[in-house]
């Protein structure tokens, strides 16, 4: 077999791909970086302000609050689906009647369009006319403000995320469980291990790499969450559910402050890169052969 020839004349073949990547990935990023150093509002002039936008952001109470809301939302919207999704995977991994039908029903929320989901939940959250407060009244619990109260809005939005995305975690973990070897369990049974011991010392370590994949996907999704929050609360009441994405949208597409919004994007990008590296490192460490 002839060895690969990497002489310069073949580099030409990679040029189309390089150009496409430069046009759709590299250029927008460089342009965003450039814009973050400008004071530009659509319809107005452009003025170079260096790091001025970043300095202003550090003093912007709304921006700092939105970072806190994003963190709060992301932690809950990752941890809860992971816990419930793993538990559901363990249940659906066992043999029982109607398993196929129930599993299909369980994954259905995942197939729904986020905006449609958000609209349906918005109706259910209505404090006076929504079905949720009616259900609470049946068990003698008073009405909740759900997304209409600052104190409950983020946990309620997380509830929608949990309903929507727990099936995805379940499917990923279920895939991991299906590929587990039987031998460790047989050995453990001979040694007198109970279900909890087997889960804690065999299942969890073996399925952990799959859970890590689910954590990475969920973290990225939760950080990106926009459609559900925007449709249900638009960041409200007040600014109680204003995450970084909502803050960014307001700056760019409501106030048309493109330079300022670009600075938010740059900061957001740095956060995501750091978090992704951390998660990828954790995933690498969790591999079976590590």
């Amino acid at each position: 077999m002839a060895s690969a020839d990497f002489t310069p004349r073949y580099w030409l073949f990679s040029l189309p791909a390089v150009l496409v990547i430069a046009a759709v990935i590299v250029f927008p990023w460089l342009f965003t970086l450039y814009m973050s150093g400008q004071d530009w509002k659509i319809g107005g002039g452009v003025e170079f302000v260096g790091l001025g936008n970043f300095a202003e952001l550090m003093k912007d109470q709304r921006f700092i609050e939105s970072m806190g809301h994003t963190l709060y939302f992301t932690v809950l919207a990752v941890v809860l689906p992971i816990v419930f999704g793993t538990a559901a995977a363990l249940v659906f991994h066992r043999e029982f009647p109607m398993r196929g039908v129930l599993r299909t029903i369980f994954v259905m929320p995942m197939m729904a369009t986020p905006v449609a989901v958000a609209l349906v939940w918005t109706m259910m959250f209505h404090p006076q006319l929504g079905v949720l407060n009616y259900l609470l009244s049946l068990v003698g619990i008073g009405p909740s403000g759900w997304v209409y109260e600052p104190s409950t809005v983020i946990p309620t939005l997380v509830m929608v995320e949990v309903w929507h995305w727990t099936p995805l975690v379940m499917l990923i973990v279920l895939g991991g469980l299906a590929g587990l070897p039987r031998e460790p369990y047989e050995s453990a049974l001979i040694d007198g291990a109970n279900d909890w011991h087997m889960f804690r010392h065999i299942t969890l370590p073996l399925v952990w790499p799959f859970i890590m994949v689910a954590i990475v996907i969920r973290t990225i999704d939760a950080l990106k969450a926009f459609d559900t929050i925007f449709v249900i609360t638009q960041g409200g009441p007040g600014t109680a559910s204003e995450t970084l994405n909502i803050f960014l949208y307001l700056q760019a597409f409501q106030f048309y402050k493109i330079g300022y919004a670009s600075a938010v994007v740059v900061i957001f990008f740095v956060i995501i890169i750091m978090l992704s590296l951390l998660l990828l490192y954790a995933r690498q460490k969790s591999k079976w052969n590590a």
Partner: protein
Amino acid sequence: MTDSILKPTRRVLLAGGAAAIASPFVLRKAQAQGAFDWKKFSGQTIDVLLVKNPRSDLMQAAEKEFTELTGIKVSAEQVPEQQQRQKAVIEFASGKPSFDVSGISLHVQKRMAAKGKWFENLEPFIKNPSLTAPDFDFADFGAGPVAYARQADGSLDTIPFFVDYWMIYYNKELFDAKGVAYPKTMEEIFTVAQKLHDPAKGVAGFVSRGLKNANIPVWTSLMLGQGMETVSPEGKLLTDTPEAVWAGELYRKLNKETGPVGQVGFNWNECQTTFMQGRAAMWLDGIGFATPLEDPTKSRIVGKVGYGVTPPGPKAHHAGMFADGMGISRGSSKKEAAWLYLQFMTNKKNQIAMLKAGAGAPGRSSAYLDTETIAQSKFGKQYFDCLLASAKIARAGLPQIVPVTEFRDVFGVALTNAIGGADVAAELKKATETFAPVLAKSEQG
């Protein structure tokens, strides 16, 4: 034939007489129509950017008739309001918008349109008899809407075809049950709401928008009762004055003490649903939201809705006014064809059609005098009385500045915080300090 002329029957004589009497009118009408050449720009195609709403549906339905009359083809698109505003801003800023005609919300984009020189001045078109049909009758547009559409330099760059007045919807059944009369003053709105507020029965005395941004017109409508808008004609913020604080306090009391649970997150649609289900005694909002209230498939209070003019405040009596206008893009190469489209879509017939369909209040005064439309309407006389009375006391509901959206955002948060228990004066002062540099900067660039 000759015989019939020489010996006419009674029927022929009557028909001839009627024709003779009617002929001057028919002739004048024919001359008026004949003098104006609608086909002058036949063969052209114009692009139109509209906001998605029932009024745009009516315009699109009228396109066929327009094309038959003028030979001009129309390519119109309806975009949801928020996205339409973004599209307009971005495309106008590019200098080469893809549309010849665009609708705008005057209460949000008026100053932005003037500053960015989005539209052509329509006065030369209106005054040009070769471009404007004699029966267009621009003087028929209400003085209020026209003044609202007119820019600071006196130019008129949009036709104000739709107006919304803020008023109070009230549930007559709930009022009658407790023997309460409609409030005579703004302060009385609160005392009346207290009497009707019955949380045990799931009835709120009052409902209005609490969601930030959306809540601003409620506060500004109350502030108009002090004879004051939020920004002075000289561009000074009046948002932390005693009058503004008074309106803020009334807004807080009404919503916090007589509003439904969770109303801090309510936009107009939640208010509408709550009121429509008989769960609120009063609702302060635009009259343009009336249609579903009288729809038996959606509302539980059909026939029980009262339409009340916003009561007078301590110093003045006004109704908050909001309006939509349509203009011709300055970058358009088919301005004349676009003007024919504007004329046709805002003519008397189409404005009456808007009122008839319950699609909103037209900018033309004649529409409200059309007795046939009023008689056929599902809304009672009180609705039209309220509309006309509000029109007479109408005043801009939002400041006429460039950064209207930021204004609504910043002060919207202050009002939401106030409902949550924060001090109204402190919140308005803080918001004023935050917004003042934004306003100053917008006037510089």
